[in-house]
Structures are given as structure tokens and as C-alpha cells.
């Protein structure tokens, strides 16, 4: 039970970072990125390759994965930043599948590493220092610290003038354009920052899992991240973290329920996804702002006549 709880909290921390990164792109900036899992995949794979093939220290490799995912965001956004959001969504979906096919068809070093075989025995950070039983606790602390740092970063970005520009973009290009803002460059930077955070989450995930394969990065995983943002409330960083807890608990607990309920695991898998899909659609219809709505802020308070 306690192991399961530690596992669940670690996964929630990692996916919390992922949900925050999508929130910067969608919740704050209004970019409908349906290929978000590609950033997670690139962060994870680049970190793995840097450690296994090039022998980089794990910390540096994770930073490399983070930067690579950010760069992917910038490269993807450079030609597409002028598209309407519906076309943007289709573009990102297609790009993510191309990235997945690349890793599905590419082997690293010998023919049985990478590709559809995946990469196993990925080294874990500080594995020698923390002995067997203590290691999950260490990784939970590591992930949680990363999550808190990312949360602080996301809140800070949102509070800067750049963050306010992103929020203005969400409501349409006209006003920022009229004020002489560089809308395309602002979008490209949002993709870069959001992508980098997702890359960090991916690097944390592969070193936690010690195994990576393209099958972890199907479009359905992108949907899970979206479910967290929608249920929690797009635009609210606290909200998406609540959403992460809800969705990841529903998703992961089927492992735990396997022993408790007399249900076949092959029934439980699809059933939990149907439950999540119904939850997302219900929230969209009945709670448009999510469970924890974004707080409306007035940046320059309006003075009412007759008052102070």
C-alpha cells in the first residue's frame, strides 16, 4: 500500500509538470497543442541517449533533454505560428506522430536497443547513494522538488508583462496586434518554454521507469494531459495540479483495484479511459472553467465614482 502511494505521488509529480507545461501553452496562451506528448517523448529519449551513448552524467543529460524539447517546440512553432488554432491542432497531432515514428524506426548503438524494442536499463540518478528501499522516497522528493520549481516558474511567467501578453493572445490576436506586440514571437516562445518543462517531465519519467519505448507515447497520453488541464481548469496553475491528482488517481488506481475488485484487467483499462472521457466532456459542458477556475485579475483597478 505504502509503495503504491509513493509510486502514485511520484507519477503525479511528474505528470503535474507535464500538465503545467500544457497549461502554459493552452491555458495561458490558448494554443491547442494536440501533440503534447512529443515534448515528453523527446525529453525522455534525448536524456536516455545522452546517458547511454555519450556517457553524460544523468543530471546534465536531463538538462539536455529539457533543452531539446524546448528547441523542438520552437522549431515546430516557427513555420506554424501564424495558423488558426484548428489547423495548429492538426499540425501538432501530425508532428507528434512523426516524432513517435522516428523513435520507432531508429535504433541506438546495436540493433536491439531503441526502435520497437525500447531502451532498457536506463541508469537512475544517485542509485548508489540510496539503497533499494529508500530509493523510491528519494525519487519522490526529486520529482516533487522539480514540480515545485516548475510551478513557481509557471506562476512567475504568468505574472510578468510577457505572461499578460500571452493571456491577451488567448482572447484573440487583434488587441495585442493593435498594441504593436509581436504575436508570433510570443507564441513561439510559449511553445519553447512549455515544451522545455514537458521535456523535463519526460526525462524524469524515463529515469524513474528505467525503460522507455515508443508505446508509452501514443496520442492517448496527450489526451490524459488534456484531461488534467480541462478538469482542473485551463489557465489556473493550481487547478491543473488538482486535475492531475484527480485524473492520475483514476488512471493509476486501476492497478491497485486489480487485486480488490473481481474485474478483468482488460476491462478495467478501457473502462477507466471511458470514465475520464465522460468526465472531460461533462466538465466542458457543466463547469466551463474547470474545478478550480482561474482567478480573474484586474491589473489596473477601475475607480468607481464617488468612492476613494
Amino acid at each position: 500500500m505504502i509503495q503504491f502511494l509513493i509510486y502514485l505521488l511520484t507519477i503525479i509529480s511528474i505528470w503535474g509538470i507535464l500538465a503545467l507545461s500544457l497549461n502554459i501553452q493552452y491555458g495561458i496562451t490558448g494554443l491547442v497543442n494536440l501533440g503534447h506528448i512529443a515534448f515528453f517523448m523527446i525529453g525522455g529519449y534525448v536524456s536516455t541517449v545522452l546517458v547511454i551513448l555519450l556517457g553524460w552524467p544523468i543530471g546534465l543529460a536531463m538538462a539536455g533533454g529539457t533543452v531539446a524539447a524546448g528547441l523542438y517546440g520552437i522549431v515546430l512553432a516557427l513555420p506554424t505560428s501564424g495558423l488558426q488554432q484548428d489547423y495548429w491542432a492538426i499540425c501538432t497531432l501530425a508532428a507528434a506522430e512523426i516524432v513517435r515514428m522516428f523513435f520507432l524506426n531508429t535504433t541506438f548503438g546495436d540493433p536491439y536497443t531503441g526502435g520497437s524494442f525500447g531502451v532498457s536499463d536506463i541508469p537512475q540518478p544517485l542509485h548508489d547513494v540510496f539503497s533499494g528501499a529508500a530509493y523510491p522516497y528519494f525519487y519522490l522528493v526529486l520529482s516533487a522538488v522539480c514540480l515545485l520549481a516548475c510551478w513557481a516558474l509557471a506562476e512567475w511567467i504568468t505574472s510578468t508583462p510577457y505572461g499578460r501578453l500571452l493571456k491577451a493572445l488567448r482572447e484573440g490576436d487583434e488587441v495585442p496586434l493593435a498594441l504593436g506586440k509581436q504575436v508570433r514571437s510570443a507564441r513561439i516562445r510559449a511553445m519553447g518554454v512549455g515544451g522545455a518543462l514537458a521535456g523535463l517531465a519526460g526525462a524524469l519519467f524515463v529515469h524513474f521507469n528505467a525503460f522507455v519505448s515508443p508505446n508509452y507515447f501514443l496520442p492517448i497520453e496527450t489526451f490524459l494531459v488534456w484531461a488534467m488541464v480541462i478538469v482542473g481548469g485551463g489557465g489556473s496553475h493550481r487547478g491543473v495540479l488538482v486535475g492531475t491528482v484527480v485524473i492520475q488517481t483514476v488512471f493509476t488506481s486501476s492497478r491497485f483495484l486489480k487485486g480488490v475488485l473481481p474485474v478483468d484487467p482488460s476491462t478495467l483499462g478501457p473502462a477507466r479511459m471511458i470514465l475520464i472521457a465522460v468526465l472531460v466532456i461533462s466538465v466542458l459542458i457543466f463547469l466551463p472553467d474547470g474545478v478550480v477556475p482561474e482567478r480573474k485579475r484586474l491589473y489596473s483597478p477601475v475607480r468607481r465614482g464617488g468612492g476613494t
Binding site: 491547442v32 495558423l83 489547423y87 491542432a89 499540425c91 501530425a94 506522430e97 512523426i98 515514428m101
Partner: protein, 302 residues
Amino acid sequence: MLQIVFDSLTRAAELSLMAVGLTMVYSLLRFPNFAHVESATIGAYAALFFSTTLGLAFLPAAVLAILLTAVLGVVFDKLVFGHLRDRSDIILMIASFALGIGIRQVFLLFWGPRPHFFSVGWGSALSIGGAHITPVQIGVIVTAVVCMLLFHLLLNRTRMGIAMRASADNSVLAEASGIRTERIVTAVWLLGSGMAGVAGVLLALDTQIQPNMGVAVIIPVFGAAIMGRIGNPYGAMAGALIFGFAENFGLGINWAPLLQTVGLTSADFAFIPAGYKEAVPFAVLIVVLIWRPQGLFGRVTR
């Protein structure tokens, strides 16, 4: 070469049936319905259910399945999209993404991930000029052509079709001229989902039935609709042809002469690796979106 043409035509026939419905819904309700391709999956599984589980003959089972798919299109509209009419296209898009995932998981739940097959026993492949074409492939192409012709007649010769085109063009103006838009919306869902259901049955005959069969073609279907300009069913048909051929030709062509001229390779043979087969339409779509987002046949309207 002829083989590639046969395969491409079959593919284009299946894609066009889905792309036409998608483009109609897209232009009428102004959002890309990511759940549209799931109607094909529904059609295929419904036909499987009626023929295998209930023991009907193939043709009545297929007709029943297509009718059911058409009605379910309206049901999903009433359950999900109808409640979101006044919201932004982004919300509708996300709702359709969620709906698509949910539908796919229902099939996974009841039929499992293993593929199923129809065995109609329509005889063996014919040989034409050294290329093989199966009776199923001929059936696929003929059915699609007949559906497209009927759809063309409906659009141009009936009041319903003309009202449909008017609403797709400008729904506010259409409503002001006395067209009841909600009825048109229902008709478009019936038609669009029904045609996707036909595509699903054809896909099932041609390949196999599995939960991912719809989502596997989502990119070429969207690509065909966008390439032909959203709201233009004839453009979507042309787009489906282009994507059908691009997929098969992209793999069947020796790119070496082209690459040699550019100076990229000195090898005599350069084929796109088979593992990247599915990446071809994705790449074509991204290029189209960046190069001509208004579609190949559209006019620039800015």
C-alpha cells in the same frame, strides 16, 4: 505501376467517404470533429455485430450498420456538441477529441484489441495488366463513386441540398432566409456519419476491424478536407485522391534521381523506409497547412 494505381484508388475511395462528411460538419459548425473518423469504426463494428453475432447476411447487416452509424452521429451531436454550440471552436474541438477517445475505448472494452475480419468470399483477385485487383477493391471503388454521385445530386438537385450549401456558406444569412439551420445540422450529421459508416464497412472488408481503424486514417482524412478547402465536398474528394496516391506513390517511387540532382545522395536507389509509410500523409499535411492553409483549390481571402 498499375498496381499502385489500383491500391491508390481504393485508398482514395475510402478516404473520400470520410473526408466529405468531415468537411460538411466542419463548415457548418465551424470546428474540426476529431471524433468523425470514429463513425467509420462504429460502422465496421456494427456490421460485425449484426452479421456475426445476430447472424444476418452481409448486405442487410451492412445497411443496418450504416443506418445505425448515421443515427448515432445525431445522438452524439445532441449529447455533446449541441450543448456547446455557443462556445469557442477550441472547446468543441477538445470535446470531439475526448468523444473520439471514449468511443474507441468502448470497442476495446467489448471486442478487445484483437483484429476481426469479414469473410464474404467474393472470389479471388483478378489480374489486369500484371496487377492484381480483388473483387472487394472493385466493390470499394464502385460504392464510393456511387455514394459521391448520389451526394452530388442531393447537393444540387434537392431543396435540402441547396439549403445545406447555403447554411455551410453563411448560416446566419441562411437562417434569415427561412432555412431552419438546426434541421440542416441534423441532416448533415446523418449524412456525414452515414458516409463515414459506409467507409468503415468498406475498410473492414478491405483490411481488418480493430478499435484503431478510424484514428489510423485521421490525418489523411483531415488532410483531404483541408487540401480541398473546408466546406467544399468536391475539394475533399480531390484531396482524398491526392492523399491516396501520395501515400502509395511516396513509398513506391525511387527518389534517387531527384536526390542525386540536389546532391543529397550518390546511391542508385533511395526509397522511403516502409516503417515511415504512415508518416508520408502527416508530412504532406504539414506542408499543405504551412504552404496553402486555405486549401489547394481555395482563394486567399485576406
